[in-house]
């Protein structure tokens, strides 16, 4: 997470007017979004999570285990013990208070973004986020 930039990129000279209209409107949307409680809570929760050494270590341990088991996971060949250990590491990570706060803040912001996406998609007659995430969730 980085702070919201003050300005949108300058339109290139000679660009059609609709491009600068879209850029201006995108910048205004970001400005409005950055004032919402959901956005502010997410930024704070992210910083808390980022600075929480225990949570970062727990995440690292979970991701390392996940990486080492990846070939077996893809083949569906993990043993019960390996699966249990992976679940234990995931639960240990999620039990950290900064993680729970971060995931909760992320869920709230995500719901808000879905609402915005719905408005944009209805207007253009095509799923905005879907067009930008063709491979989301496989």
């Amino acid at each position: 997470v980085s702070r919201v930039r003050e300005t949108a990129p300058e339109p290139v000279a000679g660009e059609p007017a609709w491009r600068s209209d879209v850029e201006r409107a995108a910048k205004d949307l970001v400005a409005a979004l950055s004032e919402t409680p959901e956005f502010k809570a997410f930024e704070q929760a992210y910083l808390r999570f980022r600075d929480d050494e225990r949570a970062q270590q727990a995440l690292w341990a979970y991701q390392e285990e996940q990486r080492s088991l990846q070939p077996l996971l893809m083949l569906g060949a993990v043993s019960d013990d390996q699966r249990a250990e992976l679940d234990r590491l995931r639960e240990a990570w999620m039990a950290e208070s900064s993680v729970a706060g971060y995931l909760e803040a992320q869920a709230s912001l995500s719901a808000l973004c879905r609402g915005i996406d719905q408005l944009l998609s209805e207007r253009i007659g095509l799923g905005f986020a879907a067009a930008c995430n063709p491979s989301c969730c496989g």
Binding site: A25, T36, C113, G115, G125, L126, A131, C132
Partner: protein, 134 residues
Amino acid sequence: VVEEDETDAHATISLAVRTAAEALGAALEGSAPVAALREARARLDADERARGMLKYLAETDAELRRRRAEGTLTPDDIDRVRAAQQEAWSDPVIAALAEAQQTVIGYLPEVNGLISELLGWDFAAMAAAAPGGC
């Protein structure tokens, strides 16, 4: 003062955000790629023959999926879908619609990139995130 509107079960959108989102929607609607898509759709709506070809393609495709699931798929079924696809894509109205759609699909990530760069995180990925994660 912030007015709030229920948009779905999970989120409320402040008036300021709603207004800004609608303005972006309007700007996108006025963009050349989306305007071209709207025109291509209108041409399809006005063309009974092209609509018929798409309907036939959807039906043959659904039939192919059904037969595949049942394990009764034959080479003839596949040939029938391929022929329907070739016929549909060679129609200028359908081909123009597909091209216009691809242009919009190519343009929207550009807009998302601008929004995401300003935010510092991927807006579309955040919007597409399922509750509880993928």
